[in-house]
């Protein structure tokens, strides 16, 4: 694998996201597999330190590497922990001999005035890293030549284009898509880009050692999308036509994508007054017959627990996306965590059937949404799709996604009676497999669909009779989970690495990329290791996990949780305590896992 890793570091409002994303788009257009992530983003719109990362490789990549080849410093925060709160600035991850491209002009505008980039402050560190320094007065150029400070980022792109030998046309094509052909913004950015390019050419700045061998693909149909967008898109293709949500990081992109696109396929999006309302809207939408979903994160997910219990009791199919962030409470709104696994698997009061799916990367997520909606309808229960901020808000390059691979299975639904009214429909009819055919309000002749959160009879009326109660619990939970466990649509774990490897890793969500690479690096050093990425968390794939653990000498469960929630599930559902064999690689500082982080924790 050959890859290049760039960090754009500034302060919120500096446009580092745009700068890094555009570079990623261009590299993807030129044939690379680009991955863009939020290295450092505060829950803040302007003024706090911000860093975005880009990795581009000649093979698919699913996560960041440890070191940056290039650091674009738009602010002194790229070099130093100016607030003194213990922050590790991006410079600490610059590789030996790495490039620093910095703004050598004064900071010119609020909110960032006074944060001039001063490499002399970190001279010793730059020297120790043998950093190659390139300073150009981006701010002054932006202000004086273009009257627009924000184009600093575009000037920097021009410089990088020249250094890395990336063609201007590739940038111009993206500018057209982003700003509109012939628009003022298009011209502004193209000129700013050229200014940077000319500057670098005049200075003779070349970096032949950092050029990736790129070949643009013909008819490149690969996608470039956020994890959240892959989930939203997959849901639309899976037939979701009802979305209710409340803005929350890192799940808002699902709401935003749905708000923009769902009406175009006959769906509806409602921004609810809380997550409590959102989850109940979704139940209503589903009872009415629409495929319905919501997406949220920690605090919102807690508010949804009551509705989740209601969906379980009423046997209403709902899909709930849990995009985890660092907790508890408000926690780290914009940073990664996997602390809500227990709440997803065990949350909601009472016993009821549920399914928890966990995509490894966006291509997996896109197709997994078909399973999520089909399973929800088939088993008339809540289905959770759980992942984390790194998956949700990172941009991945995926192979072309194919909607034709989807099939829609709505599960058991009654046919409307041919002669109209019969008054005999029973929502909770006891059947052999415990699944009662659904009917939707408005179906001609059916007016007895009674959905009830109280314990109920077959007709849906309240009962507390012990015989009926017992039968209903068995139908709703016991038989249902027995059926679900056997369903071949449950995504099975994927295992990477040789079967006889003595070292094993287990993980879910965005640890996928870093662990995969950790395994490859161990192999390069002659150490055999393998990795089981879980894709269904509930029902827990106990047998597969047990077999995997048995085949290893030592197994590391890798997760973003101080209390090792996933390891706890492995022990509870598959292995028992196994204190010597089962170990943890944990990260709970809110920062993304890297291959090096995994390896150094062993």
């Amino acid at each position: 694998m050959r890859s290049i890793q760039v960090c754009g570091a500034g302060r919120a409002g500096d446009g580092t996201n745009t700068n890094i994303s555009m570079l990623g788009q261009v590299l993807k257009d030129l044939g690379a597999w680009a991955f863009v992530w939020r290295e450092e983003v505060y829950s803040n719109i302007q003024t706090r330190d911000t860093a975005f990362g880009l990795r581009a490789a000649d093979v698919p990549v699913y996560g960041p590497d440890d070191e940056f080849d290039i650091l674009e410093a738009f602010d002194q925060g790229a070099f130093v922990d100016w607030t003194g709160e213990g922050r590790v600035p991006p410079l600490a991850r610059l590789r030996k001999g790495g490039i620093v491209l910095y703004d050598s002009s004064p900071r010119l505008e609020y909110p960032n005035a006074g944060h001039e980039v001063r490499p002399e402050q970190v001279e010793a560190e730059l020297k120790a890293r043998e950093a190659r320094l390139f300073g150009l007065p981006m701010g002054r150029m932006a202000k004086e030549q273009f009257g627009n400070y924000i184009v600093r980022g575009t000037i920097a792109l021009g410089v990088l284009a020249h250094m890395l030998g990336l063609p201007e046309e590739a940038f111009a094509r993206r500018f057209v898509r982003i700003f509109g052909e012939g628009s003022d913004l298009f011209r502004l950015n193209l000129e700013a880009f050229r200014a940077g390019l000319e500057y670098a050419r005049a200075e003779g700045w070349e970096l032949p050692d950092l050029r990736l061998p790129l070949t643009p693909r013909e008819d490149d149909e690969r996608q470039l999308l956020l994890g959240n967008e892959a989930v939203a898109l997959g849901s639309i293709v899976a037939g979701c036509r009802f979305y209710a949500g409340y803005p929350i990081t890192p799940a808002s992109e699902v709401l935003e994508y749905m708000a923009e696109k769902l009406p175009s396929v006959g769906g509806v999006v409602v921004q609810a007054d809380s997550e409590m309302a959102a989850a109940h809207h979704v139940i209503g939408g589903s009872v009415a017959g629409a495929r319905a979903m919501t997406a949220t994160s920690g605090p919102g997910f807690s508010l949804m627990q009551e509705a989740i219990s209601a969906a379980g009791m009423t046997e209403t199919p709902v899909v709930i996306v849990v995009s985890q962030r660092g907790g508890p409470a408000t926690g780290l709104p914009t940073k990664v965590g996997q602390e809500d696994l227990n709440e997803t698997v065990f949350g909601g009061h009472g016993d009821f059937a549920r399914i928890v799916l966990a995509p490894t990367e966006p291509e997996d997520a896109f197709y997994m949404m078909e399973k999520a909606f089909n399973l929800a309808d088939r088993y008339q229960c809540p289905v959770f799709v759980i992942y984390d901020q790194m998956f949700a808000q990172s941009t991945y390059t995926t192979p072309p996604l194919n909607p034709s691979r989807f099939t829609i299975d709505r599960g058991k639904v009654v046919a409307a009676p041919a002669n109209g009214h019969n008054g005999r429909y029973r929502r909770y009819a006891l059947t052999e497999d415990g699944i009662s055919p659904r009917a939707f309000p408005g179906m001609p002749g059916i007016h007895t669909i009674y959905v009830n959160t109280n314990e109920h009879t077959e007709e849906g009326y309240i009962t507390e009779e012990m015989v009926v109660r017992k039968a209903m619990v068995e139908k709703r939970v016991v038989k249902r989970m027995q059926l679900i466990v056997r369903d071949r649509d449950l995504p099975s774990p994927v295992v990477h690495g040789p079967a006889d490897a003595p070292i094993g890793f287990i993980g879910y969500g965005s640890v996928y990329g870093p662990v995969l690479e950790a395994v490859q690096r161990l192999a390069e050093k002659g150490q055999k290791a393998k990795f089981m990425a879980l894709r269904t968390i509930w029902p827990f794939p106990g047998r597969e996990v047990r077999r995997f653990v048995d085949s290893c000498r030592v197994v590391y469960v890798v997760e973003y949780s101080a209390t090792a929630q996933l390891k706890g599930l492995v022990q509870r559902e598959a292995t028992g305590p196994m204190p010597r064999k089962l170990r943890s690689v944990l990260r709970y500082d809110g920062r993304p896992m890297t291959p090096g982080y995994v390896l150094q924790s062993l």
Binding site: V237, S274, M276, G284, A288, S309, G442, H447, T448, I462
Partner: protein, 333 residues
């Protein structure tokens, strides 16, 4: 497909459920009787297919309503029937959604949803069986309980002022705001029908006395609490209009006022608020039809759904949408 015809009309018996939940003399029986009359009218006279009626409820004595009926329904959790009802209404605007709440249900634990349903103007009807107490948990004071009301949770009399749901609904922009009383079935049924027929969010608060836990000094025995309401508590809006105009309106205003209170007047919201305030000074609560205003867009209209464009009935086949899906994919390259 008309299932019920003049030869074979829908009867109240067909939509009567097996429920037996309320104390003898409970006001909720009156609400149920009125609602059945309305259903029969809707189906037999107004051509609404019975299968398109969807009834909701939350938790409390009021929420046993669907148990008393035989209809498509969702019996939800405490305070949460409104957001579920909103989901049903949005997913399929062909449905007639009627939500039965209680004063604790809608005005305490479900207050968030109640106010936002008014603001969003979702096309549904909320009928609140308001009795000032939490009957099902044995009579604690509810948010509508009046000052001084003695209950098991307010042994010295209620010291926290009550909520006024009518004022809230008016201020939040509900399309229909009215209040009925459970002991006048015909008037109540008229209000219900009008509420259901109003485009947008309808709040029909109904005084539905609790004969078991609502106690007032000097009113003992069966039916006495109804007398307390009648004699001490309610004031019809038309009566208030006639009798309070001198206190409420200036001479200049009075010169332009019609003789009857007009709930469809553009000024109805302000007039109603002033009458409610004036009545409150005498310890009275206004009843009747306060406001009908269909001028604001409904949530359905705002979000582009309609009976013809119901998300629950949308084509979700992959074949039928393939071109659109391919376009969405192409945008994300």
């Amino acid at each position: 497909m008309a299932v019920y015809t003049p030869e074979k009309p829908l009867t109240a018996a067909e939509i009567t459920g097996p429920g037996a939940w309320w104390c003898s003399g409970c006001g909720d029986f009156g609400v149920t009787a009125a609602f059945k009359d309305v259903l029969v009218t809707l189906v037999n006279e107004l051509g609404v297919p019975l299968e398109r009626v969807f009834v909701m409820s939350g938790i409390g004595c009021s929420s046993k309503e669907p148990e008393m009926l035989r209809l498509n329904a969702y019996h939800g959790q405490h305070g949460r029937s409104i957001p579920v009802a909103m989901g049903v209404a949005l997913a399929n605007p062909n449905l007639v959604v009627v939500d039965f709440g209680g004063d604790g249900d809608s005005y305490a634990i479900g207050m968030e949803h109640f106010v936002h349903a008014c603001i969003k103007n979702v096309n549904m009807t909320l009928i609140v069986m308001n009795n000032q107490v939490y009957g099902l948990t044995r009579g604690q004071a509810s948010p509508t309980g009046h000052l001084g009301l003695k209950t098991s949770s307010t042994p010295e009399g209620k010291k926290v002022r009550p909520v006024n749901p009518l004022k809230l609904a008016i201020a939040a922009g509900a399309a229909f705001v009215g209040r009925g009383v459970s002991w006048k079935k015909k008037e109540l049924a008229e209000l219900m029908l009008r509420a259901i027929q109003t485009k947008g969010f309808s709040l029909l608060d109904v005084f539905s006395p609790c004969v078991t836990y609502h106690r007032e000094p000097g009113y003992r025995g069966s039916g006495a609490i109804v007398d307390w309401y009648r004699l001490n508590y309610v004031l019809d809006i038309q009566e208030a209009w006639r009798e309070m105009r001198d206190q409420v309106f200036s001479e200049e205003e009075r010169a332009h006022l019609p003789s009857d209170y007009d709930p469809t007047s553009p000024d109805a919201a302000l007039y109603a608020l002033r009458l409610i305030e004036e009545a409150a000074k005498m310890g009275r609560e206004v009843t009747g039809l306060l406001l009908v205003n269909e001028s604001a867009p409904t949530l359905e209209e705002a979000l582009g759904v309609s009976p013809e464009r119901a998300p629950a009935l949308a084509d979700i086949s992959v074949e039928g949408n393939l071109e659109r899906y391919r376009k969405l994919l192409a945008e994300l390259r």
